[in-house]
């Protein structure tokens, strides 16, 4: 019923507007085209200034309402993200000045040079000087922006620091699988035809001994505050994207073509809860590439902790190999405490960076 009422009201409004419009057309014919055109011109010229002023107020008001809800209200959560933010502010300053300047000029000119009977227009077809000015100045400003941008770009896409930890993240419809290389610091080989949704979600080749200590989970990626992390990103089916809004980075997950991304978390999840005044804060991984009907729900979680907490967590993890083949688990055979096995320190292999 309400829908019919709404339609009826809209149609009525249309009819009223149309009648007014039609009437004004008749009036303008009666008054003469010239006079009515000049009247309309004045109204529209005035509206140009009104729009400019209301528009600028709107821009300010929108900022007031929503700035606090953007990521910029709180520090970037990664060292690299802070560089993105500072670059963003510089770009905002440059484009903001141009935006306000040109919009004021546009609507002010429209108002100021509206038709007047006694005005003689200025026949001004070109000026090499002016055109040179507004070719060169934008080019110079853009050069600066490009230089800042590319320095950051090469940093972000370059090699991670040597002490970076490595985590593999694999997208699938609609979730994420995380893999840690384990004590040997190297990932075991995998092949997609080995994938079995129940027992082998990544298609690990268990013959490869490097795989035997790999840790796999689908709950969350645990990272260490202040320690660079390199993500090796893959996909099991369609293209996904590891979107990390708080760290200001993202990278596609492409089936068949592994990609990488690295960053240095700056704040633990706990610290971010305090900084954002949001006790429910979590670092979310959002899939940023359309991947099917469940795209909007493809959420991952990153937990940033300090080193001690991380050590405790990693010690509790059981290699997937042993989960898959319980009979190979020495702790099962001896029915001993499983955590003991994982705690055993292995130092030699941690420096090895995973081979793909």
């Amino acid at each position: 019923m309400t829908i019919f009422l709404t339609i009826a009201v809209v149609v009525l409004i249309f009819i009223v507007i149309f009648q007014i419009a039609k009437a004004s057309e008749y009036v303008s014919i009666l008054k003469g085209d010239d006079i009515s055109r000049k009247q309309n011109n004045k109204i529209n010229g005035f509206l140009m200034v009104v729009f400019l002023i209301l528009g600028l107020i709107g821009v300010w008001y929108c900022n007031k309402l929503y700035f606090g809800k953007t990521l910029l209200a709180v520090d970037a959560a990664s060292v690299e993200g802070a560089r993105v933010d500072s670059m963003l502010w510089i770009t905002l300053a440059v484009t903001g000045i141009v935006f306000i300047g040109t919009q004021i000029i546009l609507f002010w000119f429209a108002y100021k040079y509206q038709e007047k009977d006694n005005r003689k227009v200025f026949y001004f077809a070109h000026s090499n000087k002016l055109e040179a000015i507004w070719t060169v100045i934008p080019a110079l400003v853009l050069t600066v922006l490009v230089i800042i941008g590319l320095r950051n770009w090469f940093l972000f896409t370059g090699e991670p620091p040597k002490d970076a930890m490595v985590v593999e993240i694999t997208g699938k419809q609609f979730g994420w699988i995380y893999r840690y290389p384990g004590k040997d610091g190297a990932f075991g080989k995998k092949y997609y035809k080995n994938i079995d949704p129940a027992t082998n979600t990544l298609g690990i080749l268990w013959e490869d001994e490097l795989a035997h200590d790999d840790l796999i989970n689908e709950q969350s990626m645990v990272l260490v505050k202040g320690r660079p992390v390199k993500l090796i990103i893959g996909s099991r089916d369609v293209i996904h994207d590891v979107g990390l809004p708080h760290f200001r980075l993202k990278m596609d997950a492409v089936p068949g073509i592994p990609t990488t991304m690295w960053f240095t978390p700056k704040y633990t999840t706990k610290e971010m809860k305090e900084m954002t005044n949001n006790p429910n804060f979590i670092y979310e991984i959002s899939c940023d590439q359309m991947c099917g009907n469940g795209h909007y729900s493809m959420k991952g979680i990153i937990d940033v902790v300090d080193q001690e907490e991380y050590d405790v967590w990693i010690a509790k993890q059981k290699p997937q190999y042993l989960v898959t083949f319980p009979d190979k688990d020495p702790s099962n055979a001896q029915s001993a405490d499983t955590t003991k096995l994982a705690v055993k320190p292995v130092e030699t292999a941690t420096k090895t960076i995973a081979k793909l």
Partner: protein, 604 residues
């Protein structure tokens, strides 16, 4: 070249009518040959325009429907189920339907409305009229161009009604999602129809584009040198060149996709395991290859959409400022620069695909270079207004609105073109805001400007002014209210193409804003219906045009009769003696292109 063509005016229309000069002879036109399979460029233009309008309404309605979901995710609208059936069970749009709506909205608006509806309409209408030709180089191919578009429309429309739904993987149709029906129901029959429709569309735009280029290069009237062409024609020329060079690449990409979908090849597929299906045999393909092929068209496509609007806006600003366009040669030069650069920036859509960083940096440089010709255009438009004597016709209002929107949307391009910022903002609402303002709404404004300005020439009547003013002010205010706040959502990292944000701790804070945006988009949509009413009403009942040249413009189309027949000029095609922008020269309000240069006239 041009003179030759004119000295021997064997234009097609002339041979068609028997004798070029023998204009009184009315050859028998049936309803079919006049309104349906017409070969008159003016009628074909109207066909493109009205088909484009139908699609604009459908595409706009789709956006209203999915905005309903975004603005009111918790409410249920039982009437939706009445319309959409299983796609809105219980009055809730399902995710399948949501993604299908988003995808079809994008495809339809980009290709059917802003490519066919915009350059199809105005290239057809204006090229012969403004260069002084009786028709296109090949009126028959021109007619085919429309009917291929019509066929594409029908196929696209039919995809909405198939059991598994229309394609739902986004208008960019990235494989593997678009290649695998098992990955998404929309990629089944719906995708087959989508791809057939797009292939037909490519044929249509190639036929059109080749025709436009041939006509502009060969059929200009006597005296109409390239540097005397109105900027509309220059813009439409570059648009056609872009289309002809880039659409075939898109088609090749689609053909490989068809092979992957149906014939077991692995161009785009490798290492894929689909839930519930298992591992696929395909190995060795590259999903990224499609993106290169797609964006090699996809980016020029942005300029295919934008350049005609730029051209028309240049013309309309100059006419209604009663002042020459500032920097005519710089305007052509910047159009040329944009057209060249359009081919060299496609990979800026792919910064986060794992692209080689060095390659990425080249694309950053080339992308930001586009800002230079764009800045030239903006400053030239502003200078055109400076010390003019501005008449705010509805067309002029939309032209000014275009400049405003182009500035706003263009500036955020400087953010996104810089890869180190794109790595943060890519695929967020910041991008949605950016391209809707600069490409969507701005080009739409250019199109409205063109419709208001040339409507008197199309139908011999005026559109209602008051409705035009209401249309403009509500639309520009509404467009900013819809898309400006989206920048803030983007700066919160909010991804695009999400059906529901409520499960996300990081993005759920914009419930009220989303509702506001949805509400405004409905109002703006309603006002577009008002415009359409004005359009169709005025075709039949609008105030009649009494003056041959209602805007006191210089260009050739205003030297034709009030309702020009096929062939445009009843007698000889007028000769051109000057550039089209002699407004306010030597104290004269305007000097038509057909007026010979006087002895005492000053040089510009």
């Amino acid at each position: 070249m041009s003179n030759e063509a004119v000295l021997h005016p064997h234009s097609v229309a002339a041979t068609h009518e028997g004798h070029g000069v023998h204009h009184e002879h009315h050859h028998h036109e049936t309803f079919i040959s006049k309104y349906v399979f017409s070969q008159d460029h003016k009628m074909i233009a109207k066909q493109f325009l009205i088909t484009g309008m139908v699609w604009a309404v459908l595409g706009g309605l789709m956006s209203v429907l999915f905005r309903l979901q975004l603005g009111y995710p918790d409410s249920s609208f039982p009437w939706l189920e009445d319309i959409l059936g299983k796609w809105a069970k219980g009055g809730h749009i399902t995710p399948e339907a949501y993604y299908a709506l988003v995808t079809t909205h994008g495809t339809v608006l980009v290709f059917f409305v802003l490519t066919a509806g915009l350059s199809g309409t105005f290239a057809n209408f204006l090229i012969p009229l403004q260069i002084g030709a009786r028709d296109m180089a090949s009126p028959f191919l021109n007619m085919l161009s429309y009917w291929f578009f019509f066929a594409a429309s029908i196929v696209m429309l039919s995809s909405i009604f198939v059991e598994t739904g229309p394609f739902s993987g986004g208008w960019t149709a990235y494989p593997p999602l678009s290649a695998l029906g098992d990955a998404s129901p929309g990629s089944k029959t719906g995708m087959d129809l989508w791809i057939v429709s797009m292939a037909l569309f490519v044929v249509s735009s190639l036929l059109g584009g080749l025709n436009y280029i041939a006509t502009i290069l060969n059929m200009r009237t006597k005296g109409m040198s390239m540097t005397r062409l109105p900027l509309t024609i220059w813009a439409l020329f570059f648009t056609a060149v872009l289309g002809v060079l880039s659409f075939p690449v898109l088609l090749s990409g689609f053909i490989l996709l068809i092979f992957d979908r149906n014939f077991g090849t692995s161009f785009y597929l490798s290492d894929i395991y689909i839930n519930g299906v298992g591992a696929l045999p395909n190995e060795g393909g590259s999903a990224i290859l499609f993106q290169h092929l797609f964006w090699f068209l996809g980016h020029p496509e942005v300029y295919i959409i934008l350049l005609p609007a730029m051209g028309m806006v240049s013309e309309i600003l100059s006419v209604n400022s009663r002042k020459p366009i500032f920097g005519y040669m710089a305007m052509i030069g910047s159009l040329f620069a944009i057209a060249i650069l359009a081919f060299l920036v496609w990979a800026h859509h792919m910064f986060v695909t794992g692209l080689n960083p060095l390659l990425g940096s080249v694309f950053v440089l080339l992308t930001l270079l586009i800002a230079v010709p764009s800045a030239i255009k903006v400053f030239n438009w502003l200078t055109t207004l400076w010390r003019g004597n501005i008449r705010f016709t509805s067309g002029m209002l939309f032209a000014i609105g275009f400049v405003s929107l182009f500035i706003s949307g263009g500036l955020t391009g400087i953010w996104l073109g810089n890869s180190a910022l794109d790595i943060h903002l890519h695929d967020t609402y910041f991008v949605v805001a950016h391209f809707h303002i600069v490409m969507g709404v701005a080009s739409m404004f250019g199109m409205f400007a063109g419709i208001y300005h040339w409507f008197p020439k199309m139908y011999g009547r005026y559109l209602n002014n008051t409705l035009g003013y209401i249309h403009f002010w509500v639309t520009i205010a509404g467009a900013y209210m819809i898309f400006w706040p989206m920048h803030y959502e983007g700066l919160a990292g909010m991804p695009r193409r999400y059906y529901d944000y409520s499960i996300w701790e990081s993005f759920k804070q914009f419930v009220e804003l989303n509702r506001f945006i949805s509400l405004v988009s409905m109002i703006v949509f309603a006002v577009q219906l008002l415009f359409l009413f004005n359009f169709f009403y005025s075709i039949f009942k609008g105030r009649k045009v009494t003056s041959l040249n209602p805007w006191s413009a210089n260009t050739l189309e205003w030297t034709t009769p009030l309702r020009p027949g096929h062939g445009n000029w009843p007698g000889e095609i007028p000769e051109v003696h000057r550039w089209p922008y002699d407004y306010g020269k030597d104290g004269q309000d305007f000097i038509s292109q057909t007026t010979p240069v006087g002895e005492e006239e000053s040089h510009h």
